[in-house]
């Protein structure tokens, strides 16, 4: 038992140290960061955060990311819910092939789609819009949503559907008023995963935007190379990108393990 606890504590410390260091640096001035090695900020300052929260080119990055992540989550859930129901309840011509094909898109390296995406979205006039990034992220989020939701739906007994249909429910009414409430934890977990994978992806988001929809992660990379390193601001920006994830994760904490197993445990 002791060895187990030591392993767990050791691992948690290993996870926390880099995060602590980021947080620590975000409260320091650049002089302190470069001048002295200190475990706690000696000259505690909120200036780094002030820079980000008052400069539109910084904080609009967060707004842009939030917009396309939300759009992507809504689109993914809307199309994935009926599809997952179909996969969990029916067999139909080509269902297995379709499912595997969906999964292959989750496996496709985004780098492969970089150039064609750029040209596709430029040619239909969606370049540098939030919807372009949201649609591009559907490439991996929709298959993932179908996968997770199918796992959760398979856990709902089929008798519930049959009873509802015998009682004269139409399919849309049954689906919206009975079935969806039954798998709401599954929907929450799926939404969380869409949020997560859209939030952390940079390559496509950066390629498909230039000014108006530029994500925060891309704003950060640009600042890294500009006029030396502003470590303090960089650390503050990094800390702020962790916050949204840390907040939403609290809401799904009891379902997250099942979600990571794609509902299949």
């Amino acid at each position: 038992m002791k060895a187990r606890n030591l392993l767990l504590i050791g691992y948690v410390v290993f996870l926390m140290l880099p995060l602590y260091w980021l947080l620590n640096m975000s409260f320091k001035t650049n002089e302190e960061i470069l001048g002295a090695f200190t475990l706690f900020p000696q000259d505690f300052t909120l200036d780094n955060y002030r820079v980000i929260l008052t400069d539109a080119s910084w904080y609009m990055g967060y707004v842009n990311s939030m917009i396309y992540v939300t759009l992507n989550t809504l689109i993914s859930l809307t199309v994935a819910l009926p599809a997952a129901y179909a996969f969990s309840r029916y067999t139909f011509v080509g269902d297995k092939h379709l499912f595997f094909w969906l999964l292959t898109n989750r496996m496709a390296p985004p780098a492969v789609f970089l150039l064609p995406f750029f040209q596709l979205y430029s040619s239909i006039g969606l370049f540098d819009t939030h919807i372009a990034v949201a649609l591009a992220h559907c490439l991996f989020n929709v298959p993932l949503s179908v996968w997770i939701l199918e796992g959760f739906m398979a856990g709902v007994p089929k008798e519930i559907d049959e009873t509802a249909f015998l009682d004269g429910y139409s399919f849309p009414r049954f689906f919206l008023t009975i079935f969806i409430p039954l798998i709401r934890s599954g929907i929450g977990v799926t939404a969380f995963f869409c949020f997560m994978f859209s939030w952390v992806e940079l390559l496509l988001a950066r390629t498909l935007t230039s000014v108006d929809a530029k994500p925060i992660a891309a704003v950060m990379t640009r600042t890294v190379s500009a006029s030396g390193m502003d470590w303090g601001v960089l650390a503050a920006a990094g800390t702020l990108t962790i916050l949204p994830g840390a907040l939403v994760i609290w809401f799904v904490r009891n379902h997250i393990a099942k979600g990571f197993a794609l509902g299949r445990v």
Partner: protein, 290 residues
Amino acid sequence: MKKIENNRAWFLVVPVFVLVAFSAIVPLMTVVNYSVQDIFDADTRVFVGSEWYREILRDDGLQQALLRQFVFSFAILLIEIPLGIAIALAMPRRGARASLTLVVLALPLLIPWNVVGTIWQIFGRADIGLGGVLVTRLGIDYNYAANPIDAWATVLVMDVWHWTSLVALLCFSGLRAIPDAYFQAARIDGASNWAVFRFVQLPKLKNVLLISVLLRFMDSFMIYSEPFVLTGGGPGNSTTFLSQSLARLAVGQFDLGPAAAFSLIYFLIILLFCWLFFTTMMQLGRGPRP
């Protein structure tokens, strides 16, 4: 659950099909199209057949990137899968402490990938980073920006930091699904801890382990942002993996033909390995025991 045969279910799947086809088939066909042509400008293009494929397969730089990619992905699997299982076994199973551990473990997964690179870029620096300073104090001459071995070690540790939680969370959910009666029965039989793990827990983990091996292999094979921010692929080309070579070729040099051929080969390798993993693990699962 027995499923009903009903071809009208296609109507429910059509939205997904259309949406993913728009994001997948159109770009994929564009890539196939590029990979067999030499494109000078919008109006001048020549069909070159398999020339780009031959060129890519012979290219030394890309072969080395491929080799590095394999070494990296297998090293990642070798470290993260056992470590993830061990952590899952050590996690508290219920209550507030379990929730808290889950949240803490999931934290690295929610950080944008280039920020992960930034965190380690700062953390690993020998002058201002806690990690770099600690290693230097131990008497090791450490500089990830100049020494290829240090760069490799840093990228590996960073990936372990970033993704082992995924394996641990998957295994944790697998372990939690095992009924308590199994453990009681094992205790009555006087089974050792190892025997419980080998014959009760491990078989039950088969599905989640399959998912974690697949996900970890696929995602480590596509790794881009983290090493890009941390080392920029250097020193030299020592941490340039496949995605980065591809991005350089496609966006940096704008060599559309070779980049497209490269993309397709890359995609096929991933598909092949996922299929291999999938079938072998399914075979293992069937095994000699009933």
